[in-house]
Symmetry: none
Subunit: 220 residues, 2 copies
DNA sequence: TTTTCAAATTAGTCTTGGCTAAAAATATGT
DNA sequence: ACATATTTTTAGCCAAGACTAATTTGAAAA
């Protein structure tokens, strides 16, 4: 069975929205994510239901099926492999890759992905620190915490971001909080939850709670 | 102005069909090339005419405009750069690349193509020996040689004739050695300089030195 | 329990890019 | 020159994927 580009994008959005704890995903949320209208989403849900990549009972919400998860993970795998390629081989900045990868992920050629994976030396994480599913859809996740949940004097390494908008990534780049940076929490203001952190043992940096909640750290 | 994927494909086909000498391209030929029906082609020609990438007078044929040529060459450039990438970096065989490149050529990102070009070291020819237009659409043509000066196993494309008498052209037409034919030198007889050549990967043909000295080939 | 409201779905329309069948225009043969 | 054949275009239809407007449904408040 084959999915269209639009179907792949919807399924990916549904997969991501499912991950965040909730068992059922709202039509409105999908519409927001896809930048379409709820009416268009209803239509697509019916189609995805017919293709059995989601289990859909109208007005009651939906659940992604095992088959659907495999499709979504396959698309995510392609997206993240292309991101690695763009950064490692073509010297893209890590905040420039998303849009292009969004297009490249829909190229249909199993051989291409297999060869690309080998060429990149079977990477396990993309430039944002997100894990790359293997060809069977398995992921090795790293245990992570949000930076704002860390306590004073705790240390770790930035491994991913939650908000990967270009604006946010540019901000992080500017202040030197790149993926892989070693950080230490120097101070935490109880009042507003803002943090003072030390980056790579040299630069200190002041960060609001909103920003720190979007940074994922692997503690050490 | 932006072209859709379908429009890019039509324009590329029209560009290729135009190159082969004729000033006007037939609807039926485009349909054959695109594997669609003539009715669909008529429709698309109207749209391409409105976008002024071709000059279209119905029932009378069409001509590609300068603007159209630039679009077509841009697409061809992308296609051939991706072919080089697939062969040189991902170890595809030269006959496995076309379908994938056909998809990759529609990725929209000037930066991507610029970086890819640099990464591949600004190649001038694709794996099939076809020239890669530069970012302005200029092609560096391969130097031409007389067919009788070529060696065994060399390949190329017939680009011109020295003697353009009707009799000679009729002869060439009869044996299938038209302008644009891809040829390969299979054997060369030292004694009289006569040649055995393969035309378009299917027909073999014997040719005297006198004849071959009047045929100009662009090597690839 | 009813009423009210927000979320979701349906109905109907649009555009793109296909198709078939029919009509129109050009080309060809006698 | 005229009849026939071929090519091309038009007309009308279909599917995907978007939209707006209207309707239905489930949930929340009175």
């Amino acid at each position: 069975m084959e999915l269209t580009t639009a179907e792949e994008n919807y399924l990916k959005a549904i997969y991501h929205l499912s991950e965040e704890g909730k068992k059922s995903v709202a039509t409105n949320d999908i519409a927001a994510e896809m930048k379409t209208k709820p009416a268009s989403v209803s239509d697509m849900l019916r189609k995805l239901g017919e293709k059995e990549v989601i289990e859909y009972r109208k007005y009651y919400g939906l659940q992604i099926t095992e088959s659907g998860k495999r499709f979504a993970l396959q698309t995510i795998r392609k997206h993240r492999l292309w991101e690695v390629f763009l950064v490692e081989k073509l010297n893209f900045a890590w905040d420039e890759v998303h849009e292009v990868a969004e297009q490249l992920e829909h190229i249909q050629s199993p051989l291409l992905i297999q060869r690309l994976d080998a060429y990149l030396n079977y990477p396990k994480f993309d430039p944002h620190g997100d894990p790359i599913p293997d060809e069977f859809g398995d992921v090795r996740a790293r245990p992570r915490v949000q930076l704002n949940e860390m306590e004073i004097d705790q240390t770790g390494q930035i491994v991913a971001v939650k908000d990967s908008s270009a604006a946010f990534l540019r901000y992080l780049d500017k202040v030197g909080a790149y993926i892989g940076a070693r950080i230490k929490v120097l101070d935490k203001v109880e009042f507003d939850g803002s943090l003072e952190i030390l980056v790579d043992q040299k630069k200190t940096l002041f960060m609001s709670k909103d920003v720190s909640a979007n940074i994922l750290v692997q503690q050490s």
